[in-house]
Subunit: 247 residues, 6 copies
């Protein structure tokens, strides 16, 4: 079995279960899904600002360190649309590590020429744009819209109409061939939105499972050449990071 | 079962079998692999020029039309590094369609920050560069080297040293975190090269299987919004293309 | 005399004559214009999809091969706005080869800082965008609009108002300094549109004649250095492509 | 007086004093310089990996929170070349916040057309490249070289020859008009290198002092429009981040 | 004292005094401000076209030559938003030279992620765009709007409402985090606009004073490596340029 | 007849005659060639610096004003590789205006995928790079080399070997499909270099004649929409510029 561990860096157990379900629904028969989140106080309640990202990145690192200590996984997914801590996580392991923004954008790019992102608060759009550029999708990403719905409000599944409206704008006005859902908390809306919109709607949680399990079957992981090489020049750096957050 | 049909647009049966094997080796338990190629005379012996690409694109279209007529597949892979006919193929079906250059670049980008392409003849580098830009990997792709080995010479598995030398240059000099193999005919060298180089080596055939089967499990296919919508305004255009090639 | 052969890859004789006239009207005294198109069944009736492009590219190749066999020309123009087969055509000859999208964009860029493209169906805009990037006009091209008028409807010269409206939008709203006509079938509207709009309107057919005849007088043709070198490693590849389409 | 607080996110007091001196040497008469660093255990000993950056970002946040609690400053500088935590810091205050990589690149760009970065370990080049792109200096930055000298080895001021050699390569081979020093620990080498090289050598610590004090005099700080607006929707987020690191 | 000479290349004494005041208001205690402009007939009345820029560039060169002959300054600012003659000025001196468009964009980029330019006549937007690209702010600059107010009309301080309206559009619609004032003649509106808009408003005159005085304190000037090296191969070129304009 | 006036902005009569010959050699039967240059003292002896460009731009403007006063031409060419004054010239006339760098790059881009520039002094490469970006050829231009040969030394036709060597480097090492000659003074070397190199060698003087005469036959000139509209809001600006230079 290929063990895929999804790390929700916020402390919402409701969202973590939603993530686990979304991942499980698209997992191949040879894939085992594990979804974890930090204890209350060890991570942000939601990731909606750069301050939250700082804390989320630290939580991702400490959860991977802990998973590694108890045997490790065949692949890791950072299940938060800002992809916090992905670079650091790649230094920690040799297996694939992917963020759900990264995963969603790669899959959306394979469905056509263009996609639009529909996300939560407008203040997160800057980070989304940074990731779009970092991953190479400046041309493909023709829209990035914020619904104004906070992450935790998605637990209540309200406001689907608002989300649909922004998706429709991305499709009809901006010319997006597909929609990228800009929050792990939207994973359960994927089927509904696909039905409403008539274009592919890509949830990064589901997208990431296919990508990392495919990489695991190929034996392709994280390149340890230089930037993401294991750290050994100073003492126990990974533990050190975890400590400062865990303490 | 998810039926993935890989289309080798050249007429080499040896290469088609190699492609089938490479795909089969990385397929999840729920994935069925089919690999096809045109009859001699219905496609180019190898794809090493823009003229070959024109012919290869026509062959891809006609083989997809034929597969559709006999029930269709859950996903299609164009198993030639120039990704000939992928745009046209997307007009023909609602399921995922991917080229192996596209697949290899997406997966390589997930292994680190950068990759280098090592391919066959230098005259194909222009097309490779076009695809790099089209897919958004201008930043990620730090090298594109031609070994000078013609496609069909790869059937004899000679010159691995020459290929290793160019891969090493991409890694050591150009700073590539991973290698993208620039020809379906290199699929069987993947394990050897990985062993020699110590960085991820990505074969597009294997990469594509994980990507399209993951998309199929998610229910995400080709966007039929506009550019890739089915063609209906004039009579039976798909058959028409196939006819002119098949006749 | 400089013999310029314009290849309309669709089978419309009406459009081919329109192209010949547009080219003739702007030819210098030392330029002879020839315009050809495939026999019905040997090319698409119009080029409005990627499937059509595949077929059009093959038609371009076969018509150049045939022209070469009967003495050849001093320059070739692919008179279809998607520039199908231009790369392949450059492998076949040493003289200049240019597509009309390419020609129109180069000339439009010389009239000011920016241009807008007004074309036929929206599904062709993706290809237009690819060409804009390939030729380097991402900055210069500030708009690409589809009128929704099919290629063959242009034979009847209806809907000039619709075309004018989109051109005006490109000029007034998008700030285009000039208009690029996105279809060879619009060649005869050039004077009318110029009169209506008050900015340069560039038809690619006319533009191409000036460009290639200028290159011919300079003795500058297609670079045969590597990518576009003649093909000799395998047997008679050019004929081979033509055969598979012509058969 | 304009109070500029420089935050060294690593725990080296030697480096913090070096930073204070470099800042003081270029401060205008109306500028007061304060330099701080985390207590041992509250930050990384040096910032040489993405894991270190995660920890450094948290340390930056907590030190700004603490400074705000005791009256605040007129401007903040993140005195580490990876600019960790700058985005988060901008959410915390209304005054200017700048990283030293950002500062150095802006000033270097004003000295000519191009610059080269000379930094510590090669594994940090990826982050440097990300910052180059984020700040818009892809064209201006013509080289980024790693000397292989770890951050803390710079305390001993050895290996100036090695640094000079890489700077010379950037100038003579890569055509850099100026050099950007890629580590706060190189601040004291600025005069020596300028003497050796004959081109402007820009230390980000010194550069940042001029930039933020100039902004303070203009009354221009951080835009609180949206992305960097203060956080109020959930409880005490800034303190929360600090707590998880400080605990 | 650091002597900063600001060169207004148009002949308006009213505007030159406005520039001097704006510069003086933000100068550190160790900075002396000098503002000059050409005699009537030796420069354009305003810079609102490429023809004006040609004349303005010549005026900048001749005023720097004259200042150098009478002892020189520690830094030069070209106080016209098109930054005319900055490249040539850098060849003439070893101290810092900066244009106010350049200065404003650099400072605006430090206040957040994005800025919008609000300027005078629409015909100057092309030059503004050229400068945006040259300085690397293609991503950061999200809007460039012309108010339609001629440069000299700004002397009368009318139409503030029109300027506010365009600034608001840049902020609310285009998502600009800050505003860049696109004319030296707007320097006195900076405080008013800041009050109205609630985001940083950056006047290039004020911005430039902080930047060049900071560079002067660091001992960083113009790189004389190659492009901006002093000219010595032919006779007295600087004087020659000045002569042809002054005569 | 189409009257094409080529403006050499330097004062060398030898070079002006060379330009006239090169233009004449490639002119169609319906094209009349006129080549002019400023009187000694009214322009720079050569254009090898930004200071020279300032003076050259003024000379271009004044020569076009004078030509307009005596009846005007059907097209103008700025025959200096830095394209000085082209923007301003476009404000003065409604007919086509083109620089020889612009012309050479457009034609070179039509010969293949890439070109390399070989020019005079290294200090002019910055300007060349600016033009490459402005015209959209960042991708196409794979090399820009300086021979170190001053402009006026080209009058003596020495150092062809040095020029050949740099061209060969561009072709063999940098992979240029064609060579762009980076100085009007190299026009007479075009045939020799083509013979030596075996790839298209493009002289901008010859290239420009084909481009502007083609535009003239199409009735396509400079867009007078906004940026390049005639100037009328203030008094006689064109004359004014000319005056300040001519005086």
């Amino acid at each position: 079995m290929i063990r895929v561990t999804l790390i929700n860096p916020n402390t919402s157990r409701v969202m973590t279960e939603k993530i686990a379900r979304a991942a499980h629904d698209v997992a191949a028969p040879d894939v085992e899904i594990v979804a974890v989140c930090p204890e209350p106080g060890d991570g942000p309640p939601a990731v909606e600002s750069h301050l939250d990202e700082v804390r989320a990145a630290a939580a991702v690192v400490s959860m991977i360190v802990r998973d590694q200590e108890s045997g490790g996984s065949d692949a890791y997914v950072v299940a938060c649309f800002g992809d916090p801590g992905v670079d650091a996580a790649r230094e920690l392991v040799e297996v694939p590590v992917i963020g759900i923004a990264e995963a969603a954008m790669h899959v959306a790019a394979l469905t056509g020429r263009s996609f639009g992102i529909v996300t939560t608060l407008s203040r997160t759009l800057g980070r989304a744009r940074d990731l779009v550029r970092r991953y190479g999708f400046d041309e493909a990403c023709v829209a990035a819209h914020a619904t104004g719905i906070p992450v935790l409000a998605l637990e209540e599944q309200a406001d689907v109409d608002e989300i649909v409206a922004w998706c429709e704008r991305a499709v009809r006005v901006d010319g997006a061939d597909a929609i990228v859902l800009g929050c792990a908390g939207m994973a359960d809306l994927c089927a509904t939105l696909t039905g409403e919109l008539g274009v592919p709607v890509v949830d990064g949680v589901a997208a990431s499972v296919g990508l990392v399990s495919g990489m695991a079957r190929m034996g392709v992981g994280t390149s340890k050449r230089d930037e993401y090489a294991a750290i050994g020049t100073r003492e126990t750096p990974a533990t050190r990071v975890a400590d400062s957050v865990m303490a």
